[in-house]
């Protein structure tokens, strides 16, 4: 039985975080630091005709003001060897979106840089812009990359014949990640070597980005990012500011720090796109789906294509022979959108799972029952078996726990005093991904181990789960393991995204630990007297300083002795874990079910999410404590998405008008009530040896739909445009 895996463990970085000792990007102190403050443009499209920096340059403490006129031209940045089309600051006079950086003021102090930034005067020749996705919806085109969505069966014909059908259109506004830590970088050049402290979900991609940008070898760039104050996708791609910061530092021959203001974040790192979805569902009277047509349109920028694959998961949720789920992108004069937690999935499933609820009411079938009726036993897209799928268990356990059987079907039929009570459900789905990842373990003669991999921990608890995995397979106690991440000098790891970190990096760490064991076995068996003589690497395990036979722990050698006899102070093994070939024979997915109770004030339109049961089937849970927190956090973000969050643009100016936390509402403590989570663990030997499938996105996917469905049940009002603010329920 596992000693650590599957058991609750407090965060190993907990003390660092509760004492304020954890250092985030902007908090590294370097001598002679200059402070940069970004100046944002104020038109949505056009050309900069003049920039007057005279007054700003004369202001106290100003070191230099960079604009497109004097900033050095950067070399093309690459990502995985390909040219990155992402926006780059101060490289031309072209204005591509409102809130675009047009200057960087560098001064001796932060206060001076901030003030001088207000004195930079920019003139523009504005052109007609378009920032309203609704207005360009008809011009939307299929993404130019990736395979086009092919229909399955004959959806149009099946829809025409369907005895029961519903059709509806859903809208999701632009949403911003708003992690609590603003994006920041501190860049230090020592000759041609760059050290940059950056907020990022992938140190290696920032390293490649900067090395290509400045034409220096990748080895000359060190990206350091030990703590990230939340990101949710906003730091997956290198944003424009690391190159801008490094450029200024290089030009000025001194360290420079640039920190986004909260406002600058709204045009500085992408966002969840504005998404319009039209869904038609056709079914037999029994509830069996006969046709699904799920069309999605979302915006991208005028200069870079981004797609969040909004309706991809629609293809894999329900057994339905006829389906079409095309996606189109509409160019807008806005920054490029990006991945935001559960990208695509939460948007697509909001629409699909609301539509399923609408269908259930059309059919007069319980919404949960409708999902059982259309349960996919195999992947409907390709007929492959699921490597594991405990969604049925999620539905049933959640329903049981929630008390779903007591639900009255009719809207407005349940009350708590004057308040309307609504119960809603929805399905969650995401992929069980694994990416190539490398880890290095150095086992020391004193019985401690150092583990390193260039992954990131933006909050899910990667420091802790990787420590647990290493402790488990090295047979050590967690305190004997020191795991480091967030440094491009460590072995390569993928970005922290897609819920693949534990599956990927955990597998690498497990592999490295087993490799250490194998090395020790080989060393031990150099001696004729070894009690492990006949054993193979697969037969042994490490435990509390012993290398022992799994089947007979009385046969063992002391790890310290083996190392001593071989004159070794340490044993280091680096292991790269790749996703297995076997995975291709299966569909590898994670699933979940959400049950939500809302209470709605019928007079004032205010909604309280009173109770949430979230059941997740995502393989093996390494640390239930942190996993629970991931699920809770996802629910909270789902509450925000369902009820509060919207980035508002004044399309006359193409400008975001609520780029702050006073008008862009995210949930506060008082918005969050009872949330319970349950893990329906799956034993999945296909996905990876750890059986880990990932869960960071999953918990969010069904929440907005479940809330919207609960609001409908409470009020009889079907709100198809998020967020469901009080004015929409009057």
């Amino acid at each position: 039985m596992a000693r650590y895996i599957g058991k609750e463990m407090s965060r190993v970085d907990g003390v660092a975080k509760v004492t304020g000792k954890a250092k985030y990007a902007a908090e590294f102190h370097v001598p002679n630091l200059a402070h940069g403050f970004i100046v944002l443009g104020t038109v949505a499209k056009g050309t900069i005709t003049a920039i007057d920096t005279r007054e700003a340059e004369a202001a106290g403490g100003v070191v230099r003001i960079f604009t497109h006129l004097n900033a050095p031209k950067l070399k093309p940045a690459t990502s995985d060897g390909k040219v990155d089309k992402g926006f780059r600051a101060l490289q031309s006079d072209k204005i591509l979106f409102n809130g675009q950086p047009v200057a960087l003021v560098v001064a001796e102090t932060y206060e001076q840089a901030r003030y001088a930034s207000r004195l930079v005067k920019v003139s523009y020749k504005a052109e007609k812009h378009e920032t309203d996705t609704e207005a360009v919806r008809d011009r939307a085109k299929a993404p130019s990359e990736g395979r086009p969505a092919k229909p399955r069966g004959n959806p149009e014909e099946a829809m025409a014949k369907a005895p029961v059908k519903i059709e509806a259109e859903y809208r999701i506004p632009i949403e911003h990640h708003n992690p609590m830590e603003p994006h920041a970088a501190v860049a230090v050049w020592q000759g041609d070597k760059l050290t940059i402290f950056d907020k990022t979900q992938e140190v290696y991609s920032v390293r490649e980005h900067l090395a290509s940008t400045f034409g220096v070898p990748e080895e000359s760039v060190s990206v350091v990012s030990p703590f990230v104050g939340g990101a949710f996708g906003s730091s997956l791609k290198p944003n424009y500011y690391p190159a801008l910061t490094a450029m200024a530092a290089r030009e000025l021959k001194r360290p420079v720090k640039v920190v986004y203001t909260r406002t600058q974040m709204f045009t500085g790192h992408g966002y969840r796109p504005y998404t319009i979805q039209k869904i038609a569902l056709g079914a037999e009277r029994s509830g069996k789906l006969t046709s699904m047509i799920h069309e999605a349109v979302h915006n991208t920028s005028s200069f870079e294509q981004f797609s969040d694959a909004t309706n991809n998961f629609t293809r894999q949720v329900y057994a339905c022979p006829n389906l079409h789920a095309p996606l189109k992108l509409a160019d807008t004069d806005l920054p490029t959108p990006t991945w935001m937690r559960a990208p695509g999935a939460v948007s697509g499933m909001f629409a699909l799972e609301c539509a399923m609820d609408e269908l259930a009411y059309e059919l007069k079938i319980d919404p949960l029952e409708l999902r059982f009726i259309n349960y996919a036993e195999v992947d409907p897209e390709n007929g492959k078996p699921f490597s594991s799928k405990a969604l049925r268990e999620c539905y049933r356990l959640g329903a049981e726990k929630f008390g779903w059987k007591d639900r009255k079907h009719e809207p407005r039929s349940m009350r708590d005093g004057k308040l309307l009570v609504g119960w809603g459900t929805a399905t969650g789905i995401w992929g069980a991904f694994q990416m190539a990842a490398t880890a290095r373990i150095t086992l020391k003669a004193d019985g401690t181990a150092h583990v390193a991999s260039a992954t990131s921990d933006i909050g899910p608890g990667t420091y802790t789960v990787i420590t647990m995995i290493a402790a488990e397979y090295l047979g050590l106690k967690p305190e004997q393991v020191k795991f480091e991440l967030g440094d491009s000098r460590f072995p390569r790891a993928p970005s922290q995204g897609g819920s693949w970190t534990t599956a990927s990096v955990g597998s690498a760490v497990m592999g490295a630990a087993l490799a250490v064991g194998a090395r020790l076995l080989a060393l031990a068996n150099k001696e004729a007297s070894s009690p492990l003589k006949a054993a193979e690497a697969a037969d042994i395990e490490m435990l509390d300083g012993r290398l022992q036979l799994k089947s007979d722990p009385s046969r063992f050698v002391s790890v310290a002795d083996v190392m001593k006899r071989n004159g070794l102070d340490e044993i280091a093994e680096t292991f790269e874990a790749q996703p297995s070939k076997e995975r291709q024979n299966y569909s590898t997915m994670v699933h979940g079910a959400q049950f939500i109770e809302v209470k709605v004030d019928p007079d004032l339109g205010t909604v309280r999410v009173a109770r949430v049961i979230e059941v997740s089937a995502c393989g093996r849970i390494i640390n239930p404590k942190a996993s629970h927190s991931q699920e809770i956090g996802a629910v909270v973000m789902g509450i925000g998405m369902a009820l509060q969050e919207a980035t508002e643009i004044d399309h006359r100016y193409g400008r975001i008008m609520n780029p702050n936390l006073q008008h862009y509402h995210v949930p506060v403590n008082a918005d969050v009530h009872s949330i319970e989570t349950m893990f329906a663990e799956e034993e999945d030997k296909v996905v990876n040896p750890l059986g880990v499938k990932g869960m960071g996105e999953l918990g969010l996917v069904g929440i907005p739909a479940a809330i919207a469905n609960a609001v409908f049940h409470a009020t009889g009002r079907r709100v198809r445009e998020l967020p469901i603010t009080p004015d929409k329920l009057l």
Binding site: T42, G60, E111, R114, Y115, R118, D603, L604, G605, T606, R608, L643, Q644, E648, D650, R652, Y653, R655, M657, N658, N660, Q662, H663, H665, P667, V668, N669, A670, D671, T725, P726, D727, L730
Partner: protein
């Protein structure tokens, strides 16, 4: 933030004198709104006169009411026994606003002077007659879901954002101010703030250099029958979509007198004398409250995105009066 000279005032006279002498000087108290606006370059004083060490924080009984010092914090005020017992509506309104941290910093005087949260006012690249007279009103034809439905003008549709003042209007408070010469005057609170008209840059009727020294509350008959209701986009830490300060004095089942003040609907707390008149002498019933709510919202002129405030305002008034009357 523009460079400024920081001066710590030794007494109210010196403070008022310093500001009066410099058209670009500002008083600094809690700083919760002023510093934010200075960072945004909306407020650009070249001198700040720090009032926080002045002895203007007493909350004390007057012959016929209570005086709360201008520099008492919101927290001190809301939790003072004289206020909690005698003016619970004020306590409720204060704690409905902002966050505990902000209330620990914000002073009563400063709270009266807080400026609108209109997005166009905050964004210096946008037209705003309040920030920069003559540039136009961005919100009039722009995004105006959170804007005024009463008393707005073509030059400004912003709302006053505070909660505390809504209660002060209902409680007939008086603002005591003094100038640099030591002359004091009192301003009834409902004459303190202004409607935008053609001069939206002026939020209130204070003269430059006049210092609020206290807010005086007359003896109140609403110590029981009052309720503050705030409707917002999330459960806490958000500005009101609509707020209602409601108070009723009931005598033998009939309403002897009432107060209905709406927040979040106008450039100042919007006291509805129409609603109050409709209530006076009527039975304390839901029916009376509905009629009063209709009367209160009758003159509303919603903008493109805030018509919901009319209906929400009515419902909020009814709810607040129901709650208030139950306590009376």
């Amino acid at each position: 933030m523009r460079p400024f000279e920081y001066v710590r005032a030794s007494d109210p006279g010196a403070a008022a004198g310093a500001v009066a002498a410099n058209p670009q000087a500002k008083f600094l108290a809690g700083g919760t709104n002023l510093l934010d606006l200075m960072k945004e370059d909306v407020e650009r004083p070249n001198q700040l006169v720090d009032l926080t060490r002045l002895k203007l924080a007493e909350i004390q009984t007057l012959r016929d009411g209570v005086s709360i010092g201008a520099l008492a914090t919101n927290t001190e005020t809301a939790n003072h026994p004289l206020i909690r017992q005698g003016y619970p509506l004020l306590t409720q309104a204060i704690v409905a606003g902002a966050s505990a941290q902000l209330r620990n910093m914000a002073t009563n005087g400063g709270n009266l002077l807080q400026r609108t949260r209109c997005q166009y006012f905050y964004d210096t690249s946008m037209p705003c007659n309040k920030r920069e007279p003559g540039t136009g009103c961005g919100a009039r034809e722009g995004l105006n879901r959170i804007h005024a439905i009463f008393g707005w003008s073509e030059s400004c549709v912003a709302t006053y954002p505070g909660d505390m003042a809504n209660a002060l209007y209902a409680l007939d408070a008086v603002v005591r101010v003094r100038d640099s010469a030591g002359r004091e005057r009192t301003i009834p609170v409902d004459e303190f703030h202004r409607l935008p008209g053609d001069t939206p840059e002026k939020d209130n009727n204070l003269k430059h250099g006049e210092l609020i020294v206290a807010i005086e509350l007359p003896r109140s008959n609403f110590a029981k029958g009052s309720y503050y209701l705030k409707v917002r986009d999330r459960a806490s830490y958000a500005f009101a979509l609509v707020a209602v300060a409601a108070a009723v004095e009931i005598d033998g089942g009939a309403i002897k007198q009432a107060r209905v003040v709406l927040g979040g609907v106008a450039h100042k707390p919007w006291r509805s004398r129409e609603a109050e008149a409709a209530l006076t002498g009527k039975p304390a019933s839901e029916e009376s409250f509905r009629l009063a709510a209709e009367a209160a919202l009758e003159g509303a002129k919603p903008l493109a995105h805030n018509a919901y405030k009319v209906e929400l305002g009515k419902r909020a008034i009814v709810r607040a009066l129901l709650r208030a009357s139950r306590l009376a």
